[in-house]
């Protein structure tokens, strides 16, 4: 399996030049405005480029806020505006690099591909399409074609994974099926739409897949009040008629309530259960992306549940047969206490802005000193809150 090892983003928003070596679960912490979302969006632009077109539509469908060239190109004080924005992704064998440009005024609908390379890292040999046409300064990229024609696993897996990428920002009303998702996708919309349908599919899928079965059962170790969960048609559960925009709804059996009065719908259940199921679907559903980002994954969760959930997610991605890669931003210190960062697949990054406003991303390595502090009962969350890891605002 060739997961994405490294992402390089240049001249994009506050990311003048940032290199991040990824694991499977990648957690980004930092002050508001430090550039965490810019990094996730930069990867989104890269994903759109891999797919062949960079425009408002291809960006929105990945959860990226479209921006004018003036906003996308880094514009630091006393520096020249860069000629292009550039992105690189690597797995162990293959590298994809793209440079994009667009006119400032008026911008064209599609960004131009100034340069696009898909090549082997070992010999720097480019994977070319059989057509000898000049791809330079076209508004289309040809990475998918090149990877498919190479018929080799490393470029194909790099490109497929990048194509898959999208940024999820789950919101409670959408997870409860009370509001529609503006970016519907299968299995999940970018705001968490289709959750009941996706859970239904996952519960069917678990019959044939032990990994999915493990994850669906782990739910009960996280949500202690539920004895059972499933999905039903909205007509089969008592909820207000206006409450659901979906034909299916989540159904939970409350452990503490009397028989026949113990059924709780997704409309009524605690939002914590929704977020846990959302994450479980993203990790275990066979059609969920192999590479994606999640903002506010810990919203609405009790601190102790947050810790346990991130321990659980860490284990889920470590065990993942397809090596799913997740990028997650959080402002919740307790998330850090759930991360076994001594495992190289689980990585913690601190995002800061330098004195010149540039985003700097640094990995927190599990040094002996950190492990030693843990043995003495100290926690990563306490170090972060004190400012000892960086990534805090000056307030």
């Amino acid at each position: 399996m060739y997961g994405i090892k490294e992402i390089i983003i240049e001249s994009f928003k506050s990311l003048e030049s940032v290199t991040v070596e990824l694991g499977l679960l990648n957690i980004f912490i930092g002050a508001n405005g430090s550039g965490k979302s810019n990094f996730l969006e930069g990867v989104g632009v890269l994903s759109a480029a891999v797919d062949g077109r960079v425009n408002d539509q291809t960006l929105l469908m990945r959860g990226v806020r479209p921006g004018t060239p003036q906003l996308y190109k880094s514009s630091f004080k006393n520096t020249d505006t860069p000629s292009c924005i550039a992105f690189t992704a690597k797995n162990t064998k293959t590298q994809y690099h793209v440079e994009l440009d667009n006119a400032d005024d008026p911008p064209k609908p599609n960004w131009l591909f100034l340069q696009e390379q898909l090549c082997s890292i070992a010999n720097n040999k480019e994977y070319q399409t059989q057509e000898k046409r000049n791809h330079i300064k076209s508004d289309r990229g040809f990475a998918v074609l090149r990877a498919e024609e190479s018929n080799k696993k490393p470029p194909l897996q790099l490109i497929r994974r990048l194509q898959d990428y999208r940024i999820y920002t789950p919101t409670t009303p959408v997870l409860r099926s009370m509001s529609t998702d503006t970016q519907p996708h299968r299995p999940l919309g970018l705001s968490g739409g289709r959750l009941p349908e996706a859970v239904h599919e996952l519960l069917l899928y678990q019959d044939s897949d032990s990994y999915a079965r493990q994850i669906t059962s782990d739910f009960f170790s996280l949500i202690s009040w539920a004895d059972e969960y499933s999905t039903v048609s909205v007509s089969k559960i008592p909820i207000p008629t206006f409450a659901s925009v979906s034909p299916r709804i989540l159904k939970f059996q409350d452990h503490f309530m009397a028989n026949e009065r113990n059924v709780v719908s997704g409309y009524d259940a605690s939002e914590g259960a929704m977020y846990v199921l959302f994450l479980a679907v993203l990790v275990a559903h066979p059609d969920s992306p192999t590479f994606c980002a999640i903002e506010n994954a810990d919203y609405g969760l009790n601190p102790r549940l947050v810790k346990k959930l991130f321990q659980q997610i860490s284990q889920w991605v470590i065990d993942s047969p397809v090596q799913k890669q997740l990028l997650i931003t959080t402002h919740n210190p307790i998330v850090l206490d759930g991360l076994p960062i001594q495992n190289d697949k689980i990585r913690l990054f601190v995002v800061n802005r330098t004195s010149k406003g540039k985003t700097a991303i640094k990995r927190i390595l599990p040094t002996e000193e950190i492990i030693d502090m843990g043995k003495k009962g100290h926690t990563l969350s306490e170090l972060w809150v004190m400012g000892l890891l960086g990534g805090v605002p000056d307030v």
Binding site: N352, R353, T354, S355, I370, M373, M386, L388, V395
Partner: protein
């Protein structure tokens, strides 16, 4: 140098941090980039209400250092949060020498606060013109530095720089914006008790309130360029500059 310098600041309060960041901006030439992170003790608002200044102020600095000492098993210089920094600044106003641990709602850590009073040897009538080589501010600053060293059992990292304005950071703010003030001409600014009153006494349009909002509006972005005024008129500011640059040189090599 390709890497971004990482600087940690343990300071009495948020306005002090804003000033220190401006000073650092001045001292680190434009070719270097840095991140500044303020390090603070853990605290909950409920306890802050019970004990004022628990989270900030000089007692906040003390609690933060003691907590970190504990976290690193007594070896403050080996603390991982310190080791990852290129430079650590500890700020304490010199007027802390007059405080007691009881004032800061701290148990008596040592019998070193308040420090023995260091009085000006000049008779009152001669204090209108303080000699330029007066070392009273230096003696007071050394006293508060010694208090910090005691807190840390002298176990300090090599990248530590003390920032000890005499008698308080407000004097450095005053020196920057009002270099022609009579107290500066008389070389007395560093001996003025409660220098924040000097700032308050200015006419409304020149007044600087000790609030984050006012500091952001009036100090951030401009103070950096006025640092030479402070260095010229405050011996502890010059000392801080020199010590900072000395440590910076060791970081760069």
């Amino acid at each position: 140098m390709s890497e971004t310098l990482e600087i940690g600041i343990i300071a009495e309060g948020p306005t002090d941090i804003l000033v220190i960041k401006e000073i650092v901006e001045n001292l680190i030439s434009d070719q270097y980039e840095f991140t500044c992170t303020s390090i603070q003790p853990k605290c909950s608002a409920v306890f802050e209400q019970l004990n004022t200044e628990l989270g900030t102020g000089w007692s906040g600095v003390c609690r933060c250092l003691l907590e970190m000492k504990k976290q690193s098993n007594g070896k403050f210089d080996q603390h991982i949060g310190i080791k990852r920094l290129n430079l650590l600044i500890i700020h304490l106003d010199v007027d802390v020498t007059r405080q007691s641990y009881k004032d800061g709602h701290l148990r008596n850590i040592d019998n070193n606060l308040p420090c023995p009073s260091i009085q000006c040897p000049l008779p009152l009538r001669q204090r209108n013109q303080c000699p330029s080589d007066c070392d009273i501010p230096r003696q007071r600053a050394n006293a508060i530095r010694q208090v910090v060293l005691n807190w840390l059992d002298n176990c300090t990292p090599q990248n530590l720089v003390f920032c000890t304005p005499s008698q308080a950071m407000d004097a450095w703010v005053f020196a920057a914006f009002f270099p022609d003030d009579i107290r500066i001409r008389q070389n007395k600014l560093e001996c003025v008790e409660r220098p924040e009153r000097l700032l308050k006494s200015k006419p409304k349009q020149k007044r600087i309130e000790k609030t984050v909002t006012d500091y952001r509006k009036k100090i951030v972005g401009s103070y950096c360029n006025l640092w030479s005024n402070v260095r010229q008129n405050c011996s502890e500011a010059e000392r801080f500059s020199q010590e900072f640059l000395k440590v910076l040189n060791t970081v760069e090599t």
